[in-house]
Each structure stands twice: as C-alpha cells, then as structure tokens.
C-alpha cells in the first residue's frame, strides 16, 4: 500500500534521513521505532510533502506521491496525525471534525463518519461545542485522531500518539488504534513506547540516526535480544 524507497531528508545542509526503505502492506499495522532525533518524524513529514524530499521515492497505492501537494496526498487516502497534534485551538471540537471532511471523498460521508467517530470517542461528543483549547492532552489526541478518521483514510499515520500522555490514557489510545485497525484501515505508527507498540503491530522497523538498523515481525522483535537490551530493559 505504501512503499518508501531510499528516502533521504535534509534540513538545509544537515541531513537527518539517509536512505530508508519501508513498506506497509494493505490491511496491516506497521511500526517505525527509534530514539529521539533518529529521523522518524522527518521521514513522515517528507512522505506527506510537509518537508522537501532530498532523494528517494514514495509510492502510495502504486502511485508516486513524492511530487504531490499535501492536500492531494490526503485526498488520496494517506492521512497523518501530526506529532504536535495540530488541533485548531480557537475552533470547537465539532468544527475541528467538520473541517476534516474537506476533501471531496470525505464530504458526502461526513454525517456517517461523524457518528462513527463519536462512537469511538464518546468524550468528543460530550465536548463537541467546546473550544479545542479547553481539552486535556488526551482529549486533544483523541480529537486529532478523530479528525484524521473524518478524512476516510486508507492508511492512517500516527506520529507518537502516546507522547506526553498519562499511562492510562496511552492504553486507551492503543485500544482505539486496535479498533481502527479492525475497521480495515492500515496503520503506520511512529512511537517511542516500544513495548506497547510491538505488542499491537504486525511488523516493525527500527531507525537510528537516519538509517533502518533492524526490521522484522513485531512478535519476533519483542523477543530479540538486541531490541530487548536497547529498548525494553530498564
């Protein structure tokens, strides 16, 4: 479904991603793991055309998207929930969700999707007339994910959904991710919470200083000595 080929990303002269290969097959959940500054977010932003691509190719549903504009990529079904969440502070929860039905694909399904989003996140329905800035961190993450779902994604890309959230809320978010997966949406998730992510994905890549250093089925990585030592032992 998504195929990244030798992707390189640089901020001016400073290169942060050095040719990564990554694939997300249809109906699968794939993780991209690694420490701070490894190039995870940069790869995602470049893939979404929010950062310029230095070299390499990104294919979505067999089509090259590396020269497309962000809104066109979103329209084609590849949707990012950004690390900073990007909920629109002065707009209400409902407006935040409504705006996400901007694309021609999502608009006719808006009412139905809104109902589904409220089923997944009852809390958002309770707060739909509140301004997004009055939400807690967890609620804001729910809103960011709900907003992405409004766009009818075929592949949902989550950038550190657990960042800055209390453990209980992190569990809740991962339950939601499982529920989204069950609706037939493919997921690419970037995380630092390695244990939980490996438990809830099919396949994982580990990135360090801009290069993929290891990959494999998540269940295997969970037992891999190097992974356990580097990320899971405390």
């Amino acid at each position: 479904m998504l195929k990244i080929n030798q992707l390189e990303v640089a901020y001016g002269d400073i290169q942060v991603v050095w040719g990564i290969d990554l694939e997300v097959p249809p109906q699968s959940t794939v993780a991209l793991l690694g420490p701070n500054g490894a190039g995870k977010t940069s790869s995602l932003l470049a893939m979404m055309s929010l950062l310029p691509i230095k070299a390499g190719a990104v294919q979505f549903k067999g089509e090259d998207i590396s020269t497309k504009k962000t809104h066109e990529i979103v329209e084609s079904g590849l949707v990012l929930v950004p690390e900073w969440r990007g909920t629109f502070a002065t707009m209400t929860v409902l407006e935040n969700l409504e705006i996400a039905a901007y694309t021609s694909k999502a608009r006719p399904l808006q009412k139905q999707t809104l109902k589904e989003v409220f089923e997944i996140f009852p809390r958002l329905e309770e707060r739909k007339m509140q301004k997004a800035r009055t939400l807690s961190g967890g609620e804001r993450q729910m809103l960011a994910i709900g907003r992405a779902l409004m766009l009818q994604p075929e592949l949902l890309v989550l950038d550190e959904p657990s960042l800055g959230l209390a453990p209980l809320i992190v569990d809740n978010i991962f339950d939601v991710i499982a529920a989204i997966k069950n609706r037939g949406v493919s997921i690419l998730i970037v995380e630092q919470n390695v244990q939980l992510t490996l438990e809830s994905t099919d396949y994982a890549y580990i990135i360090e200083t801009g290069r993929i250093v290891q990959q494999g089925p998540s269940a295997e990585l969970l037992k891999d000595d190097r992974v356990v030592e580097a990320y899971l032992s405390l």
Binding site: V74, L80, G86, F88, T90, M91, I99
Partner: protein
C-alpha cells in the same frame, strides 16, 4: 433558516433604523459621521477576512481601497455609468490581489506584512506621480450633490460585507481560513489547500476593500488620486478591528463606532495628538484585551453569570482564553 435570536432581532432593528434615518433627518453632520463609521466598518471588516479569519496580516490594505476608488472615480468622471465604474473598481482590486498574492504568499508572517506595506507605498507614490492633480466632481454633480445616496451606498456595501463574514463563520471556506490561521501545517494535513484558501481570502478581502473605495469615490467632492492609497487607511482599519474584536463579525462594527466617535472628539479638542492616542490605544488593547471590546463584553457576561450562580464554577475554565488574533503579534 436559523431561528431568530434576540441578537439577530437587535441587529435587524439597528440595520432598519440606519436605513430609515435619512428619511427622518437631513442633518449633514449626523449622516457624515455615520458614513465615515460605515467606511471604517467596511475597511475593517474586509481586512478581517484575510487578517482576522485567515491570519495573514496585510499592511497594504489601503492599496486595494485605493485601486477601487481610483478606478471608480476615473471611469465615472470619464463618463461611464457609476454602477459599471464601481463594479470595475472592485474587480480590478480583486485582480490586483490575485497578481500580488502569488508572490506575496511565498512570504510568511511579518515578512508578508512588510511586503504588502511596501507594495502599497510603492503604488501610492507611483499614482501620485502619474496623476498629480486633484480630481473634482463635475459642477453638474456638485450642484445636485446629496448626501443620502452616498450614505445608502456605503451602508449597502457594509451590509454586504457583514453578510459575507456571517456566511464565512458558518461555511467550509471559513473553517478552512480559520484552520490556516491556527496552524498551516495541520491545515494541510487535514486536506486544506492552504495557498488556495489564502488566495481566495486575499481576493475577497481586496474586492470588498475596492467596493468601499468605490463608495468613497462617490462621496468625496475633490481629492488627490493617491489620497486613498495612504497607509493610514490600512492602519486605521486594523486599529478599528483590534479595538472591536479581531476575527469576529461584530468586532469591526463596534470598533468603528468607538473609533469614529473618539476621533471626532479628539480632533475637536486635541487636534494633532489623535494619532498618538490611537497608537497607544492599539498597544493597550493588544496587551490587555487581545479580543477587543467583544472580549470585554464576554468577560462582563461571564462575571455576571458566575456571580449569579456561585456553585457553577465551570465557567471559569474558559477564562484563560486565547484569542484569534493572538498568533498575529
């Protein structure tokens, strides 16, 4: 059709009173003061579309006001029907924004503001050199000059702009504009074509400023063609909007009433320092009351509500608000 709220009834009554006023009074002072209030309300409201809703600070708004008035005036004095002249003024102002917008939107934030200011100043000086003499209305027109039609034209223009901002508040386009204002990258990530939304907002804003310019060209007996390009028209509009409440429909209306009355009082009693007073007022509003008079009104309502129901403290949480204009400065 939304049902009538008290606020809508009051708004309609005020609009009706303003429409009937010239039939009741022919006091030129009152009509002139109101016309100037409409002028400021129109300029501020049209600026609001790009600056308040879309978050792009355009310090060259006067250029589009100027283009509208220049085209309208030149065509009208050249013998074209007034309606056609004014329509052309609006269209040319809108087209100018389209031409300027493409390169200007490569700039962001402060740089966009500086770029638009420079563009307006360059245009003002150019027009001043090309058309250095005062334009007068023909004696025929002056002989039959009546204020009421000018008043109605300006009022209609403002009502139209208000109607458009109300529409924006409830439309997909308006939501897109607000999303761009809040967070451009996040707006892109939810499928908003950011450049397109900015361009639409800019062209709308300029078209409507051109419309106000056209109405102004109809009102003034004589002026220098580059007068309407003066930077004060940009800065006064912005002051009005911030004093009233940026990013809201009623903000520019309240702000313009406040501004014109205060300016009238200051010019009569403290001539020369009124610009200074407005400068200070602008700074105070931005620092203390970033949501303007609209915010002041909300705070009063909140205060009353909390005091009436001491057990319901949840209203307090909305106190720590940020306002649409916050990210502009």
């Amino acid at each position: 059709m939304p049902k009538l709220t008290p606020r809508m009834i009051i708004s309609l009554l005020i609009a009706l009173a303003l429409l009937l006023l010239p039939l009741i009074t022919d006091d030129d002072n009152i009509l002139t003061l109101l016309l100037l209030t409409f002028l400021m309300a129109g300029l501020a409201s049209s600026w609001n579309i790009l600056g308040g809703y879309t978050g792009q600070v355009n310090l060259g708004h006067a250029a589009f006001f100027g283009i509208g008035s220049l085209i309208t005036r030149q065509m009208w004095l050249g013998g074209w029907p007034f309606a056609l002249s004014m329509a052309s003024g609006c269209v040319v102002a809108g087209l100018a924004a389209a031409v300027i917008g493409l390169p200007a939107f490569r700039l962001k934030g402060t740089y966009f503001a500086i770029g638009t200011l420079a563009m307006a100043e360059a245009l003002r000086i150019t027009i001043g050199n090309i058309l250095p003499t005062v334009t007068n209305l023909p004696t025929e027109v002056i002989r039959n000059y009546e204020l009421a039609p000018r008043y109605y034209l300006m009022l209609t223009a403002v009502l139209l702009i208000v109607a458009i901002t109300i529409y924006l508040n409830n439309s997909k386009l308006g939501l897109g504009m607000m999303a761009v204002r809040e967070d451009e990258d996040a707006a892109r990530a939810v499928g908003v074509n950011v450049l397109r939304v900015k361009m639409i907002a800019f062209v709308m804003s300029a078209f409507l400023a051109g419309m106000i310019g056209g109405a102004y060209a109809f009102y003034f007996v004589s002026y220098y063609p580059n007068f309407t390009f003066g930077p004060l028209f940009s800065f006064d509009a912005i002051t009005v909007l911030y004093v009233g409440g940026v990013g809201t429909v009623v903000g520019p209306l309240i702000g313009s009433v406040f501004f014109v009355i205060l300016r009238d009082m200051l010019v009569k009693n403290l001539q020369g320092v009124h610009q200074l007073v407005f400068g200070l007022l602008f700074i105070v509003v931005v620092l203390v009351l970033p949501g303007g008079l609209v915010e002041a009104w909300d705070r009063i309502k909140q205060y009353v509500r909390i005091n009436q129901s001491p057990t319901k403290n949840q209203h307090r949480e909305t106190k720590a608000q940020t306002y649409p204009g916050e990210n502009l400065h």
